[in-house]
């Protein structure tokens, strides 16, 4: 622990800390361009020069390149060092175009700040500036190469940190160029971070180009709700429209970065067809009347058929506040539900994962990067939770090893081992692994010899820090529990073994805490079909887009006496509703979310609700007609609407929310502000959910030999319903295809590029076939793409017989 003196202040830092970081701990910000905490030092920009007056190093040195050592005396204000830095900035500014007035970075530009702070105000160089031709890098990132100061942050981030190689550095000397070999879409789904990381305006946010300066925006800390990882971000809004997301550093969750799905998925909140008008059977009315009407309908149903005839479905994307008020309402009134998962398997999967996540095993996304060996089971990180792939990339960069056991053709931006095994073999492999780790010889039947379980067990056993990552989308509850057992078995031989589940939905963890016995939409539909449920309340749950059996859903909705829908996205479901109540997305309501490792996080409201001026003003000028009201400001926070449906007329819902949150679950404690940002009390969660619940066994065991398992899966872009509405991201989407192993295509008599029709229980799905040699045999993976009507089979994992597949001619 070296002790050194910076600007006459003493500080003690861990060995290996750079002087620039030591100064930062004292609150002294040494100028920097190339240094970035996530990327480390290279000493390329020379602007962090400080004077070392005493100790092992002497003279003007780069503070990002020198480790703090005992006895160092550093001056950041030394006249020679200040002069040095001033000259460096003047030199870096030689070729800069001085286009700050038209540059989107202006106002939050590091180069701008340091030029002014460094005292370089007069331009002395009169020569020609070097110029470059810019490239079209796709719909997300705008390129303006003339502004570049050659700090190399972008190429280091893009190539070293994320592992993609299509953007890099070219040329030499004054011809140095950062870009692609030819214009084109950036391949990395983490490319948006170039915008945050560039110290000047070479890479700027394309969708929000020319919309405003940073000080024009309403900016608040927010969260990403496009997967379960709960990455932190800063949301910016202007003129009642969310216009930009930036990564908000949280060293315990997402580090310094976010993925492009999270960065650009915000458009749903301000889109033109977002419903903002309360409606009764398609007729707009004041929201107070509609709420009263819905409340009356609920009361009538309860009087006629009992409280159990009212059912509530809620979404795992809703805030903790909404979930708590819904739970409270159901408990108080005896309503059925709330259901917060579509199928029984999905509900059990989620609850099994939550109950298996013991406090001593849980690891955060950031802690994943410190693992030595990561075993990924039944998860496709890049597609399901993109930032997980970036974390795993760091494991590999630090010399660790990643093994993925998954039937899909998993791709990651680094070298890893992939065991493409059939979904039905996953359980046996996990069981064999647990036995081997316990020191018993075991073999898994139906496992190819290339997948050496003994070797893998030995590797995990010898690893100083193993982590088990487990998905909950394509697996069964049994396998998810086994993944937990595996982590526990490893813990016996290690002090540090981790367990990391990914869940479906941003607040899926909280949804799992709604009940000990999970309720699924599937179960609610059963009750509708047998006449037990007569009125359904759908709270921010777009059953139309997300429930995996649309035909059944439609039939069930027809049997209902009444449907009440509360949501902020446009859906055919809203038009079916007897009462529709518009709600607010998180940018307007704020709220709390619990991510997949049980971390409670808060999002602040960013803006007041209302139709964006771009829409009310016809994308031209703000309307010149003035009113006391903001147009389209009717939507309520979902928890307020639910409280109004469940509570007394005109009652203030705030106390109701307070009791609902207090009663939500003993593990969740919102009473102290310190609890936010921390993991909830996992110890307080019952750990015997699985044993008590019905655990459906995989049906694949008695499937005919020529059958394939059809998996409806996630893709990075195009399958997550909210982000799929973002126009910027639609260009990033690939067209939906069914992926199969080439041998499987031949065996089934299909042809690559040609469509195949899957017919099951009278439902059909037609999708083009694509060969993927990384896939397991006997598996067909189809994305839950918004361009595909995939909601046909009632499940996202089904068995399809050879006879149910038909090759189409075109």
């Amino acid at each position: 622990m070296p002790t050194l003196k910076i600007d006459n202040r003493e500080i003690n830092v861990p060995a290996g800390t750079k002087v620039i970081e030591a100064a930062e701990r004292l609150g002294i910000m040494i100028p920097r361009f190339c240094f970035h905490p996530a990327l480390g030092s290279v000493g390329a920009c020379r602007v962090c020069a400080v004077a070392f007056t005493e100790g092992p190093v002497k003279g003007i040195q780069m503070s990002c390149m020198i480790d703090a050592q005992d006895g160092m005396v550093v001056s950041t204000t030394d006249a020679e060092a200040v002069d040095f830095r001033r000259h460096v900035i003047e030199f870096l500014m030689l070729n800069h175009p001085h286009d700050c007035p038209v540059c989107d970075e202006g106002g939050h530009c590091l180069l701008q700040d340091l030029t002014v702070a460094g005292g370089h105000g007069l331009r002395r160089y009169r020569g020609l500036k070097r110029t470059h031709i810019n490239q079209d890098l796709g719909p997300l990132v705008q390129h303006e190469m003339n502004r570049c100061i050659q700090c190399y942050r972008c190429s280091r981030y893009y190539q070293e940190f994320t592992g993609y190689r299509d953007l890099g550095v070219m040329g030499i000397g004054s011809r140095v160029y950062f870009g692609r070999s030819a214009p084109g879409m950036l391949e990395s789904p983490f490319a948006g971070n170039l915008i945050d990381i560039c110290p000047t305006g070479v890479y700027t946010d394309k969708p929000s180009r020319y919309i405003g300066r940073r000080w024009d925006y309403q900016r608040q800390p927010s969260l990403c709700i496009h997967c379960s990882l709960g990455c932190n971000l800063t949301a910016s809004a202007r003129y009642r429209q969310v216009v930009r997301h930036e990564a908000r550093p949280n060293l315990e969750v997402n580090g310094h970065f976010i993925c492009d799905r999270g960065r650009y998925g915000y458009a749903y909140a301000s889109i033109a067809d977002r419903p903002r008008q309360a409606m009764a059977a398609g007729t707009p009315g004041p929201i107070v009347d509609i709420l009263a009407g819905a409340r009356e309908a609920i009361q009538q149903t309860v009087e006629k058929h009992g409280p159990g005839s009212v059912a509530v479905v809620v979404s795992p994307r809703s805030s903790l506040e909404t979930l708590a008020v819904v739970k409270e309402a159901c408990g108080q009134h005896g309503w059925t539900g709330p259901a917060a998962a579509h199928t029984n398997r999905q509900a059990l999967n989620r609850n099994t994962a939550v109950s298996c996540l013991r406090p001593e095993l849980a690891v955060s996304l950031a802690a994943d990067t410190e693992a030595h060996d990561v075993l990924v089971i039944g998860a496709d990180p890049l597609n399901e939770a993109p930032m997980l792939a970036l974390s795993l990339r760091q494991v590999q960069r630090r010399g660790g090893h990643v093994i993925v056991i998954d039937p899909r053709g998993v791709q990651l931006p680094f070298d890893f081992d992939h065991w493409a095994v059939h979904p039905s073999a996953m359980g046996a492999i996990l069981q064999a692994l647990i036995q081997e780790i316990g020191g018993h010889r075991a073999t898994a039947p139906d496992t190819p010899a290339t997948f050496d379980i003994t070797k893998l067990a030995r590797r995990l056993n010898a690893s100083p820090r193993p982590v088990v990552v487990c998905g909950t989308d394509i697996l069964t509850p049994h396998e998810i529990a086994l993944a937990g057992d595996l982590a526990r078995a490893l813990r016996r031989t290690h002090k540090v073994a981790g367990l990391f589940y990914t869940l479906a939905g941003a607040n899926a963890f909280a949804a799992a805490l709604l009940h000990d016995q999970p309720v699924s939409t599937e179960a609610v539909l059963d009750r509708i079909e047998d006449g037990g449920v007569r009125l359904l309340v759908a709270v921010e749950q777009d059953l139309w887009r997300e429930f995996p059996d649309r035909k059944r859903l439609q039939a069930a909705l027809k049997r209902l006496d009444h449907l009440v829908v509360l949501d902020y996205v446009d859906s055919p479901l809203n038009r079916e509703a007897g009462h529709f109540i518009p709600t607010q997305p998180l940018y307007e309501s704020g709220g709390h979310w619990i991510n997949q490792e049980g971390r409670l996080q808060a999002a602040s409201p960013v803006m007041a609700g209302g139709e964006p001026i771009e829409i009310t003003g016809g994308s031209d000028h703000p309307p010149r007609v003035f009113d006391r009201r903001i147009p389209g400001d009717e939507p309520l926070a979902a928890w307020r609407a639910v409280a109004a449906l469940a509570g007394e007329d005109e009652a203030d819902p705030a106390p109701q929310l307070k009791t609902a949150l207090a009663d939500f679950h003993p593990a969740v404690n919102l009473s102290t502000p310190e609890a936010t940002g921390q993991r909830i009390d996992l110890e307080a969660i019952a750990h015997d959910l699985v044993e008590s619940g019905p655990a459906p066994e995989p049906a694949e065991d008695d499937a005919p030999a020529d059958a394939v398992v059809l998996l409806l899966v996630d893709w990075t872009f195009g399958t997550e319903p909210l982000s799929a509405m973002a126009p910027a991201l639609t260009r990033m989407e690939a067209a939906p295809v069914a992926r199969l192993h080439p041998d499987e295509i031949a065996r089934l008599g299909l042809a690559e590029g040609r469509p195949v029709t899957v017919s099951l229980n009278g439902n059909r799905l037609t999708v083009p076939v694509q060969a993927d040699p990384r896939m397991a045999a006997g598996v067909m993976a189809v994305p839950r793409h918004h361009l595909l009507e995939w909601q046909v089979f009632g499940e996202t994992r089904v068995i399809v017989k050879r006879s149910q597949l038909k090759a189409e001619s075109e």
């Binding site: 953007l167 890099g168 550095v169 070219m170 040329g171 030499i172 692609r180 070999s181 030819a182």
Partner: protein, 173 residues
């Protein structure tokens, strides 16, 4: 815009293809392969870069990044009469920059580029060793000392006329 490939270039690419395919793989082979390609074609068109990138399974950006780092690689075909304008100290002082600019204007190409008919290309070179004659330019193998902007047009015209003459004679005989 890169110049289109000539029939000759295509022929060279065809012979290059099996040579590259037969070469060893690995990232360390990148520079030897680029040298091989430049030897065969005289320059590195996009097609040659793609051949190398595909063979070594690295991205086009990486290949281009390495190739553009070294001065030995060129991305434009050499002209039949390469114009080399000296930018050494003496020539710089005597206005070499102006001579370069005049060539660029006359030939309607920039430094480092080649005319569409592949007759001329312009390069800047360091000292050619006859500083007393500064400013100096080389057209092909011929050295022209005491260059002046007014001489540029004459030099280019002379080369073009000589070419026409040679063509006429070839047609006659």
């Amino acid at each position: 815009m890169p110049l289109p490939l000539t029939a000759e270039d295509r022929l060279h690419l065809k012979t290059l293809q099996p040579q590259i395919a037969a070469s060893p793989k690995g990232r360390g082979q990148l520079i030897p392969l680029l040298q091989m390609a430049q030897k065969a074609l005289g320059y590195l068109p996009d097609e040659a870069l793609s051949l190398v990138a595909d063979h070594l399974a690295v991205t086009r950006s990486e290949v281009y990044g390495v190739a553009s780092f070294y001065n030995q690689f060129r991305f434009n075909p050499p002209g039949k009469n390469p114009v080399k304008v000296c930018m050494g100290t003496a020539c710089h002082v005597r206005g070499g920059e102006i001579i370069l600019e005049n060539f660029e204007r006359k030939l309607e190409i920039r430094e480092g580029e080649t005319t569409e008919d592949r007759e001329f290309s312009i390069e800047r070179v360091a000292c050619v060793g006859c500083c007393a004659l500064a400013p100096v330019a080389l057209v092909g193998e011929t050295l022209h000392g005491h260059m002046a902007p007014s001489k540029v047009e004459g030099l280019v015209l002379r080369v073009r006329l000589e070419k026409e003459k040679a063509e006429r004679e070839a047609a006659h005989s």
